[in-house]
């Protein structure tokens, strides 16, 4: 996707991590000190993409696929091994501080908030770092506190906050100064459904109302479905898919799954539009495509033909989508 107004441009980006090869055994550690042998891991291996101003892009991949490493190069935290990153005309690692003025960052696994101090102190630091005058700051703070419902715990030390509260605090800290670009690395990891919902709405609003460019990584497909129109999928450091969410779904959807418990079942379950993918005792997993096979008649047929004692629907999960894409790319049938 090449757009003339790309705010983020990544080309031939590579990041290698080197670790000394460790010999096994008690003396292994000692030998490590004197050996020059190294393991080289290519966490990011020739990545190219561009993001236009105002886009909201989901960046997906399994654990260790290279998502976070890419984001850390985009934010200037890591220096690339080779290749190029240009964000709003700057090379992030070289112009780290100037780049930082344009971006907001949330790493769901970590916090930029000060652990022992009331939440509002961290916001005061943001105000001063980004040189916001007091009226602007108060206005923004009110707006953000209101949207994320943080009023009750603004004066609570961060260490006493729940994960969901802390995450909202981090999101607020990343957005108070209205950066042009937001990097959100798993901003919903570990938070409850309600907090997730609030965080999603907040991100959507920032993108819609302010035109903030957002790059989002997540393991929750519902985040992506709710928020993103475009998705980039990375696997083992390489881009596997770059395109629309709809395209991804129709092309790679593993379908939805129905799990049924059938008493005294012998032989396979045969229903048009479904495929049996797994069986454990009396439990059977069936895959179907909800766009072609409507759910209600399917359940009707199942219950009338078989002695169904229990029935649940399972969502398609990201792991499986990515596995399917990966399988296709390497030419293997899933």
């Amino acid at each position: 996707m090449i757009a003339p107004s790309s705010i983020i441009r990544v080309s031939h980006l590579v990041k290698e991590f080197r670790t000394p090869k460790r010999a096994p055994g008690i003396l292994g550690g000692l030998r490590t000190l004197f050996t020059r042998e190294q393991n080289v891991v290519r966490a990011v291996d020739g990545v190219n993409f561009e993001i236009a101003e105002g886009e909201l892009v989901g960046y997906l991949g399994r654990n260790g696929a290279g998502k976070s490493t890419t984001i850390k190069m985009l934010t200037g935290i890591l220096v690339p091994t080779s290749g190029e990153v240009v964000v709003d005309g700057l090379t992030p690692w070289r112009d780290r501080q100037r780049n930082a003025l344009n971006i907001g960052v949330v790493f769901g696994q970590r916090t930029q908030l000060w652990w022992d101090l009331p939440l509002v102190e961290s916001f005061e630091l943001i105000r001063r770092m980004y040189r916001m005058d007091l009226p602007t700051y108060r206005g923004e703070l009110d707006r953000v506190v209101d949207l994320l419902e943080m009023g009750e715990y603004l004066r609570t030390p961060v260490r006493q906050l729940s994960l969901g509260q802390r995450m909202r605090g981090d999101l607020a800290a990343a957005i108070l100064y209205r950066p042009r670009i937001l990097y959100l690395d798993e901003p919903t990891v570990g938070v409850d459904v309600l907090a997730k919902q609030r965080i999603r709405e907040f991100i959507a609003e920032a993108n819609r109302a302010d035109g903030t460019t957002v790059l989002l990584t997540t393991h929750d497909l519902r985040d992506v479905e709710r928020l993103c129109r475009r998705i980039v999928v990375i696997e083992r450091g390489r881009i596997l898919f770059d395109g629309g969410v709809d395209e991804l779904k129709t092309k790679y959807s593993p379908g939805r799954r129905i799990v049924v418990e059938v008493a005294g079942l012998e032989g396979p379950i045969e229903l048009p539009g479904t495929e049996e993918i797994r069986r454990e005792g009396s439990r059977v997993w069936l895959r179907f495509d909800p766009t072609r096979t409507p759910i209600a008649p399917l359940i009707g047929q199942l219950t009338s033909r078989y002695a169904v004692t229990d029935l649940t629907l399972e969502e398609a999960d990201l792991e499986e989508v990515v596995r399917l894409i990966f399988a296709e790319q390497s030419g293997v049938k899933p």
């Binding site: 976070s68 934010t75 935290i77 970590r110 930029q112 102190e121 770092m129």
Partner: protein, 267 residues
């Protein structure tokens, strides 16, 4: 470092001081330990003097006051940068420090300043106790007092640079406990906090004068007690300036190398 960035830097200092004072009971106990050490030094040195009022031209009263101030000073200006950085590198929290619009070293300096201000506040509160367990004396003259302040600030600048160097080592080794413990010992001894450099044998004195640690306690306090005056005092300050420049250049170089080695732990 521009003037416009100052409010943010001051906020770093303020927040670090507040964080430090959250754990004031722990710090109070540390300080009590320092004062007990001062008391024990007083007991031992009084015994060493055996009723003599002077040894090598140093009066016992001056010596005790010197040891009291030296130990408080070394405790209060301990380079917190050495303690702040390694855990942030180990946990990966460094990622967010690096994503700020203020350089990492500037953040570290101001966090250290904040921590030190918190510690200095505690020391000031504990001064009456220090006067009882050790001894306190005013500076030798107004001139000595003002040169002492300059010398102490230079010593603090040096301690910050050493702290940054110690902290940056974590980019290579992750773990720096061994090095900081070694630093603690070497610094305390060569700063002259246990035995003033006046009493070192010549060869050891030469070694001490070649190291930067004497700038932490011995040089500023020699000025304070009027042992270094006039051009000698100015020469001592010159030595500190030289160390300040050398160590900050080193810190800058090491930082440049470190930035290429940044690995964020924990993904």
């Amino acid at each position: 470092m521009t003037l416009a960035g100052f409010p943010a830097m001051w906020q770093f200092a303020r927040m670090e001081a507040q964080t430090f004072l959250t754990y004031r009971v722990n710090l109070g106990l540390q300080l009590l330990g320092i004062l007990l050490q001062v008391y024990l030094l007083k007991v031992v040195w009084t015994a060493v003097y055996e009723g003599r009022t002077e040894v090598d031209g140093i009066a016992l009263g001056t010596l005790i006051a010197y040891l009291t101030l030296a130990n408080l000073q070394v405790w209060a200006i301990y380079p917190q940068t050495a303690e702040v950085l390694p855990p942030r590198i180990q946990s990966g929290a460094i990622a967010l420090d690096l994503a700020r619009p203020i350089g990492l070293l500037v953040q570290l300096i101001w966090r250290s300043v904040g921590a030190t201000l918190g510690l200095v506040a505690l020391v000031v509160v504990a001064l009456p106790l220090a006067a009882v367990l050790g001894s306190l004396r005013p500076p030798a003259s107004p001139e000595a007092a003002s040169l002492y302040v300059i010398s102490l600030l230079l010593g603090y600048g040096i301690t910050l640079a050493i702290g940054i160097l110690l902290g940056l080592v974590a980019f290579w080794t992750l773990e720096t406990h061994g090095i900081t413990i070694l630093y603690h010992f070497v610094n305390q001894f060569f700063a002259g906090a246990l035995v003033p450099l006046w009493f070192f044998p010549d060869w050891l004195r030469t070694v001490a004068e070649l190291l930067p640690f004497q700038t932490q306690a011995f040089l500023p306090l020699s000025i304070y007690f009027g042992r270094l005056v006039g051009t000698d005092a100015l020469r001592a300050i010159g030595v500190q300036v030289v160390w300040l420049v050398i160590l900050w250049l080193a810190a800058g170089l090491v930082w440049r190398a470190a930035i290429h080695r940044v690995v964020i732990q924990g993904g």
